[in-house]
Amino acid sequence: MGAALFLLVAALTVVAALGVILHPNPVKSALFLVVTLFLLAAVFVLLEAHMIAALQIIVYAGAIMVLFLFVIMLLNLRNDDPERGRRRYVLRGLAWIGGVALAIELALLVRGASVGSAGSAPAGYGGAAAVARSLYTDFLLPFELTSILLLAAVVGAVVLAQKQRRPTLS
């Protein structure tokens, strides 16, 4: 039951991810990415990472993707005009060949590795309590450093995105 559901969700995830990179309209690419992130949250639930699944929807599909859509609409982007020309097609073909080769290679690596089979998870595994206990004990220092990183990112984003008051190079 869980395995069949996983296969269904995995197939949908791959289709949505292909939509992200194939759709010429950036807004629709972003919406495909939202779908991909939701489906990945479903995969996380199947892997019993309930806390991470909730964070995935709130932080990724909620906050980060809204930021993306906001910027796309702020810049008023149109469809990518597909560049023609033989050199462009050759490069694109090479990129696809390389990407498919990478996928096959990674899949073979996974096949060769012995990752062990997952037993039944302990009670409360992947819930907010279990993750928070680990986060506030073993990972307390990285957690505090993350807050400094976020502060620096907020200040940096505001400084970078504001209108220039001085003439710049370029």
């Binding site: 991909t36 990945l40 199947l46 892997l47 991470i52 696809w96 990478l102 680990s134």
Partner: protein, 101 residues
């Protein structure tokens, strides 16, 4: 409801490769950025699957940190894209070649 770890890792590998292809074939900086987010998520899936296989939550805590760093990265990256769009009025990666030398 036990999902084989190998299957989750396979899905992660395929999603990562799709992200790599997206970075290589698209020329719109924002779409390239979205493909990078896709790769980050593929790796997150590996972390969650392996944490499940080990029966420990450490991997899930790492995913938490990856998400925070991704949020910071998205904020700064999009600010850079807005700033460069203001100066050059393009988001095409081929035209933003000022550092080519």
């Amino acid at each position: 409801m036990i999902v084989p770890t190998e299957w989750a890792l396979m899905l992660s590998a395929v999603l990562f490769a799709i992200g790599v292809i997206g970075v290589l074939v698209r020329r719109n900086v924002i779409v390239i950025f979205m493909a990078i987010e896709l790769m980050l998520n593929a790796v997150n899936l590996s972390f969650v699957a392996l944490a499940r296989a080990r029966g420990a939550v450490d991997g899930q805590v790492v995913v938490f940190f990856v998400m925070t760093v991704a949020a910071a990265e998205a904020a700064v990256g999009l600010a850079i894209i807005i700033a460069s769009f203001r100066n050059r009025t393009t988001v095409n990666a081929d035209e933003l070649a000022l550092l080519r030398g």
